[in-house]
């Protein structure tokens, strides 16, 4: 009994400290006062402000373009990579398997600097292109790891069964392998999308003039003091992420129900 009480208090505290800042942020986005200190009254002004801020909207559109393109490309490359690493045996395979984790674990700042130096070396002009390229590069390992978790020896048997029934390699991949990997592909894509959406460090190094992203824009706005329109913007982003996650969770759970009922 006592243990249960302690457990509840502990969980309560964890949740409180986790979500308090977010709640404060959301609440102050509706504050009439320009200062994030006292709550004076309720207003939608900051949201209206946001939609009149052309810089911000442009940055938002940039971010979306980068996130969508890099997600699509890195999901395709990562999925194929995971399949290839699973299916074929070649020299240095275990070494390459280890290599995949390096971009995940090294500090982002190192990755940012190294990407920048590559672009300088090859004289590629910094801008949207380099941003997309960089986001693809750091997303691929996450997709590979996520997709790989759905590959198993059973999948190999399914592929053999498909082959045995006369399916060529194309049909085997699209009709049997891919549907089995789908949960991993979807979670990999979501991971890539969210990583791209809120990336600051790597984008900071690889963006050029006229290719501002939303996180970078927010970062620069904060330098001149946190204004409530940043709160409003963050609240909107929070809402968007929550919608994405909820829909994907619903889709996935529906699929499971459909498969087992």
């Amino acid at each position: 009994m006592k243990h249960k009480k302690l457990k509840n208090i502990f969980i309560g505290l964890v949740l409180f400290f986790l979500y308090l800042p977010i709640i404060v942020l959301v609440v102050y986005s509706f504050n009439t006062s320009k200062m994030n200190i006292v709550f004076e009254g309720f207003t939608f002004d900051w949201y209206k402000n946001l939609f009149n801020n052309r810089d911000l909207i442009e940055a938002f559109i940039n971010t979306l373009i980068i996130a969508v393109t890099s997600t699509v490309v890195s999901t395709i490359i990562g999925t194929l990579g995971a399949v290839g690493l699973n299916k074929y045996d070649f020299k240095f395979k275990s070494f390459i398997n280890l290599l995949i984790y390096i971009p995940i674990v090294i500090p982002e700042i190192v990755l940012g600097i190294s990407l920048l130096s590559i672009y300088t070396l090859t004289k590629i002009e910094l801008g949207m292109f380099t941003l997309i390229l960089s986001h693809i590069a750091f997303s691929i390992p996450f997709v590979i790891v996520s997709v790989r978790s759905t590959l198993s020896s059973t999948l190999k048997t399914y592929e053999e069964a498909a082959k045995d029934l006369g399916a060529n390699s194309m049909n085997t991949f699209f009709k049997v392998t891919l549907p089995q990997m789908m949960p991993g592909v979807i979670s990999g894509a979501i991971l890539a999308f969210t990583l791209s959406l809120d990336d600051v460090v790597i984008s900071y190094f690889t963006s050029g003039p006229g290719s501002n992203t939303l996180p970078l824009k927010i970062y620069s706005m904060i330098k001149t003091g946190i204004s409530p329109d940043v709160n409003a913007l963050s609240t909107l982003m929070l809402l968007a992420t929550m919608i994405i996650l909820t829909t994907s969770a619903i889709i996935q759970s529906r699929k499971i129900v459909g498969g087992t009922k």
Binding site: T154, T157, Y158, E160, A161, A162, K163, D164, L165, G166, A167, N168, N171, K175, V176, P179, Q180, G258, G259, T260, K261
Partner: protein, 360 residues
């Protein structure tokens, strides 16, 4: 009998110079139920996979219906496999699973529907078209897997330990079911298993394989009654193996000496006096009696195991050997009882371990 599958001097190695199958030749006849029987790791599944094409032969040739298919892709071979865990596609319904092969072959929609309907009826699963594999019982999944194979009208159906994952009762039922389906369709079945019970129940012919080599082939009766090696005798059913020596050679028989008793068994040409001969005696062929009978040995029941239809006795004899004895139904014997055991000459199978079999 027409040969439908022929393996000619086939070898397979996964690692260099390490052969799983070494120079194996084998004929499968049209319409038969053939079982490849062997303990795990003996290469029987590899043989099956070389027939389906999922594994390429390192050496030798594979023929299906007189066509050399050695280099042919599995997608183009007219054989289908039922995998050990059925490998039903979990994201497809029963209909989609069964029709998969036909859809790959671009068969017309109408024909697919009628063919799928027909096989589902055959395996008694009509009405289950829209279920997913996870909504089916093990036995039903098994039957979907069979339907998915036979809907393709293969020349040969390959079954890889296809009943291994079912529970005993279901397994027994499916054994009879499989045999019935095979008879009805007249398709050649090649069944791979390590379960001798299954092999004896279902097969027209059994091939026993050990370490990639054929040890014996024949009908279930032949193999059970006349094993040609101690390995087969031990592997198929229960057996007592007693070591005897040849005492006297007659015209068609030999006298062998065991436990100071003489037994008469069939003669083989290369027999010599003094040669070692194993005497194989099935436990159910041992006679038991309370009184001394002709040529009998006295013994004490060391262990008694009641097994329903039979009671198994482990008898410690006065001679220097133990004997497994199966007695039908109930007995009044208890552990520690003294009894006399005897075996008729016709129930003794002599096994000579041929020297040339030890070359490996």
């Amino acid at each position: 009998m027409k040969t439908i599958v022929r393996l000619e001097n086939v070898s397979k190695s996964f690692e260099k110079d390490k052969y799983v199958i070494n120079n194996l030749s084998l004929d499968v006849y049209e319409g038969e139920f053939l079982t490849l029987l062997g303990s795990s790791g003996c290469g029987k599944t590899t043989i099956l996979r070389m027939i389906s094409g999922l594994e390429h032969v390192t050496d030798g040739k594979v023929y299906i219906d007189d066509k050399d298919v050695t280099e042919l892709d599995p997608t183009k071979r007219e054989v289908n496999t039922i995998f050990q865990n059925f490998a039903l596609f979990p994201h497809m319904t029963v209909f989609e699973n069964v029709s998969f092969g036909l859809r790959m072959k671009k068969v017309s929609k109408k024909e697919i529907e009628s063919r799928v309907k027909k096989v589902l009826k055959l395996v008694e699963l009509d009405g289950y078209e829209d279920r997913y594999p996870s909504q089916l019982s093990g036995g039903q999944q098994q039957r979907v897997a069979i339907a998915r194979g036979i809907v393709m009208n293969p020349k040969v159906l390959l079954l890889d330990e296809s009943l291994a994952s079912l529970d005993l009762k279901l397994k027994r039922m499916m054994q009879i079911e499989l045999k019935k389906i095979q008879r009805k369709l007249g398709i050649t079945f090649i069944y791979v298993t390590h379960d001798q019970d299954e092999a004896l129940t279902m097969s027209d012919r059994i091939i026993i394989i050990e370490k990639g080599v054929i040890k014996q082939e024949g009908s279930p009766q032949e193999i059970y009654q006349n094993p040609n090696s101690t390995f087969v005798a031990d592997f198929i059913g229960e057996s007592n193996l007693l070591t005897s020596t040849i005492d006297k050679i007659n015209d068609t028989t030999i006298d062998v000496k065991f436990d100071n008793k003489i037994f008469v068994v069939n003669r083989e040409e290369e027999d010599n006096i003094g040669d070692k001969v194993y005497l194989m005696i099935r436990p159910e062929n041992v006679l038991v009696s309370n009184k001394e009978i002709n040529n009998s040995s006295k013994g004490i029941i060391k262990t008694l195991v009641y097994d329903g239809a039979v009671t198994k006795l482990f008898v410690d004899t006065e001679g220097d050997f133990d004997l497994k004895v199966n007695v039908q139904g109930n007995t009044n014997y208890k552990e520690g009882d003294t009894l006399y055991i005897a075996v008729e000459n016709k129930n003794i199978v002599p096994i000579r371990e041929k020297k040339n079999e030890k070359r490996r």
